[in-house]
């Protein structure tokens, strides 16, 4: 009944005379009619009015005929009360024909009440109750002799009882029907939602594969199968790890996003990016993982083309600028004779603007490449104080020209960072600070370790940054004053580049400023746990280059140190440079170098203390040492400085070529003994 109700699409009630269930629903009605006639002989001693019985029979026949033939489903539902009402007429006639007894007929009127309660609406039930009332009241009014006044009470009582039974039944039926309807709707919703999910999975542009905890494909969408060149059925239930050429996707491995290379059925491969998420079942427990992936072959091609384009644009713009800058530079340098003041001034303008244009091109290309995320930061273990020292060294010329002193204060925090990138960040910030510093003031550059990061700062005593510009200065061309780029020669991209680099490291950059009193730019670089472990002094890898190939150059003359680094690099050896003996000892303790190049005359401490340290710590692996000095060493000095393989040179006494040749020989010797 419930299902039929839902299918009929009518709220709360059903058409009792629907054709499909016609006989099923009409039978109580027909049976009641039959019972009504059957009651006749019960009071056989009374008179039976044959005419009334005849009319009743005609009414009964009409009811049955109407029930069976009228297309009720096309009529308003309200009309379905007509047969029960006609039935009351029938009951009243038969009762009258039977001598007016009430008891049996009273029971009979309950049938249509129940029937309407089951199939009809509230209003129809009320109509039927009115029918009950009328069935017993009208005879009293029409034939007072035959029907006693007491029948009034009977009519009231019967109507009340019928009403009670009718409404109770109707309430019950409604509740049952509602429940059934809800259940049906729920089932329908679930079915639709499942259908929808399946459609989503099937039509998704991404490949979707779910893996069971043992790595078998449990669901594979058609797109995934298509990308991999398989039929759906070939992948389901199969161990799928063989499809992955590079990268690792396993249940329980928490690498949610990554790049991988997948293998097709025909053996060819394609690059993908994927997302892998554990499937959490309700009530806990793992349902394996769901992997969605996209073929990024085309994206890679576009990226490569863009990279090439950027590279070519850079080249094509810089090539003519090289000629322009070169010609102007030669003229401004007086190679072709002196110009008058105005001519010189014009050439200076041309040179400085050419330089600015070159910086702008470099910065635009740098920013494009960094922000696209395609230039991955080459992170190596490095130390904040060295980063700072190098950046300050690079900016010393600009600072001197501007009459600004550079003051540094750095802790030696070990971290992993892209050295070139951080250099660029620091020099951009220091360069800005110098530009806005009044002559004779200081620019302070600091680096300190905080809990899980290194904190760098660059402060100046310039005009400061107004509060409303402290965000926008990190935007492209977001200088405080639009005229700054002209006056200060900046590109307007230095801070965006610095921010991009710092953010690529997972750090943050911001500015504090009191207008008129200067500005402090801060940035953080997270210390990775890896870096902290390495910094703890366990004999780890050399800070730069492959293991065991780094040399340590202890030299306080920056130019000479750079030359030595260049020379060593020519022989395939990266050099870590430190100006102080103290720091050299720390570095050796952290990462024993493959070669130590030592200047004896250092500011502050004798280079020989480094050798002393090595002698006192036999646990440090033997390191060949190149010692050079400006003075002639005595036999005693040489003995003190000799520890294993040692070369001695005196500055100015040896040709650079000869120096290089002998160091190269030493390196080869070291390489052989290591091999």
């Amino acid at each position: 009944m419930a299902a039929a109700g839902a299918a009929a699409g009518t709220p709360g009630w059903v058409n009792p005379f629907r054709r499909d269930g016609l006989l099923a629903r009409a039978w109580p009605f027909l049976a009641a009619t039959a019972v009504a006639f059957a009651l006749l002989p019960v009071s056989a001693e009374r008179r039976i009015d044959a005419a009334e019985v005849g009319v009743a029979a005609a009414v009964a026949a009409g009811i049955v005929l109407a029930v069976l033939t009228v297309r009720w489903e096309r009529l308003p539902h309200t009309l379905t009360v007509l047969p029960p009402l006609a039935y009351f007429v029938l009951v009243a006639l038969l009762r009258d024909a039977n001598g007016g007894g009430a008891s049996g007929y009273a029971a009979l009127v309950l049938l249509p009440v129940l029937w309407v309660a089951l199939y009809g609406e509230r209003a129809e039930l009320i109509a039927v109750l009115a029918g009950v009332w009328s069935t017993f009241v009208i005879p009293i009014l029409v034939d007072k002799q035959h029907y006693p006044e007491t029948d009034w009470r009977f009519a009231v009582l019967l109507t009340l009882v019928s009403g009670f039974i009718g409404f109770a039944t109707q309430g019950l039926v409604e509740r049952v029907r509602l429940r059934a309807r809800e259940a049906a709707l729920g089932a329908e919703r679930a079915r639709r939602s499942e259908e929808y999910l399946r459609a989503v999975m099937t039509s998704a542009a991404e490949g979707i594969i779910t893996l069971t905890p043992d790595g078998r494909g449990s669901f594979v969408n058609p797109r995934a199968a298509q990308m991999l060149g398989y039929e759906l059925s070939e992948l389901e239930g199969r161990v799928l790890s063989g499809l992955i050429v590079e990268g690792e996707i396993r249940s329980g491995v928490s690498d949610p996003v990554g790049d991988a290379v997948f293998r097709r059925k025909d053996g060819s491969t394609f690059p993908v990016i994927y997302d892998s998420t554990p499937i959490q079942l309700e009530g806990g427990g793992s349902g394996g993982i769901v992997v969605t992936f996209t073929d990024i072959t085309e994206r890679r091609q576009v990226e490569r083309m863009k990279d090439e384009f950027v590279s070519v644009v850079g080249h094509e713009l810089r090539t003519p600028l090289t000629s322009i800058r070169g010609s102007l530079g030669l003229m401004a340098g007086g190679v072709f004779g002196e110009l008058d003041e105005q001519g010189k001034r014009m050439l200076e303008i041309a040179v400085s603007n050419t330089d600015r244009l070159v910086r702008l091109i470099n910065d635009i290309l740098d920013l494009e490449r960094i922000e696209s995320g395609r230039v991955t930061m080459q992170k190596v273990t490095c130390r904040t104080d060295q980063l700072l020292a190098q950046a300050v060294e690079a900016m010393r010329g600009q600072a001197e020209t501007a009459g600004v002193a550079l003051v540094t204060n750095a802790d030696d925090v070990v971290l992993r960072a892209d050295v070139d990138g951080i250099q660029q960040t620091l020099t951009n910030l220091i360069s800005n600070a110098i530009k806005f510093s009044p002559r004779g003031s200081e620019v302070r550059v600091t680096a300190h370790g905080i809990v899980d990061a290194a904190l760098f700062s660059v402060s100046d005593r310039g005009r400061g940054v107004p509060a409303d510009k402290r965000e926008s200065i990190f935007e492209r061309f977001g200088q405080v004053d639009a005229s700054d780029s002209r006056e200060k020669g900046g590109t307007g991209l230095g801070l965006p580049i610095a921010r991009s680099i710092v953010e690529q490291h997972g750090g943050r950059v911001w500015v504090d400023s009191a207008p008129g009193k200067g500005a402090t730019f801060w940035f953080t670089l997270p210390r990775s746990s890896e870096a902290i472990v390495e910094g703890d002094g366990s004999a780890g890898q050399a800070p730069e280059g492959p293991a065991g190939t780094a040399a340590l150059v202890v030299e306080d003359d920056a130019d000479l140190a750079r030359i030595l680094r260049t020379m060593l690099r020519r022989h395939g050896v990266e050099a870590v440079i430190t100006p102080s003996a103290e720091e050299a000892i720390e570095l050796i303790d952290e990462h024993p170098p493959s070669l130590l190049v030592l200047d004896i005359e250092l500011i502050g401490a004798e280079g020989s203390t480094v050798v002393d340290h090595l002698r006192e710590h036999p646990d440090i692996p033997p390191i060949p040492v190149v010692v050079y000095t400006v003075r002639d060493l005595s036999e005693h000095d040489r003995e003190r400085l000799t520890l294993g393989r040692t070369l001695f040179f005196t500055k100015g006494r040896i040709a650079p070529e000869e120096f290089e040749r002998r160091v190269a020989d030493l390196l080869q010797e070291v390489g052989r003994s290591r091999a």
């Binding site: 850079g314 260049t566 020519r570």
Partner: protein
């Protein structure tokens, strides 16, 4: 100490500017070649103290020229510096790994070019 350097670049204008820069400013003897093949021959016959080699050239480009120079006994020992207008950080370190003595980004300052070359080659040290 006067040096002889060989400049290999396909751009005649840049050759001329660099020639003047190293010749007129530094007083070096400057040989020029417009391409890799010509440069290799010149390097072999004139044995310069150093070679300044443009990276992007038609036909034989910088790295290929470098490789050819390294294969010949009579040019192997001559230090090579790359000059490049493709001065992107990643590219610079890649060039450095090819075994050149240094990389000079273009544009360069003609008044200080010889100093950069000297510094990269260690000529003015000691």
């Amino acid at each position: 100490m006067s040096k002889t350097v060989l400049l290999i670049d396909d751009e005649p204008d840049i050759r001329e500017v660099a020639h003047l820069s190293l010749g007129a400013v530094a007083g070096w003897e400057v040989l020029t070649a417009g391409g890799g093949a010509e440069g290799i021959e010149l390097a072999a016959s004139r044995q310069p103290d150093a070679i300044l080699l443009d990276v992007m050239m038609p036909e034989l480009d910088g790295p290929a020229t470098l490789e050819a120079l390294r294969e010949r006994d009579d040019t192997r020992a001559i230090p090579v510096l790359f000059m490049t207008a493709k001065a992107q950080a990643g590219e610079l370190s890649r060039y450095a790994s090819l075994g050149v003595a240094g990389v000079i980004p273009k544009p360069f300052d003609p008044m200080t070019l010889h100093e950069r070359v000297s510094c990269a080659l260690g000529w003015n040290a000691f």
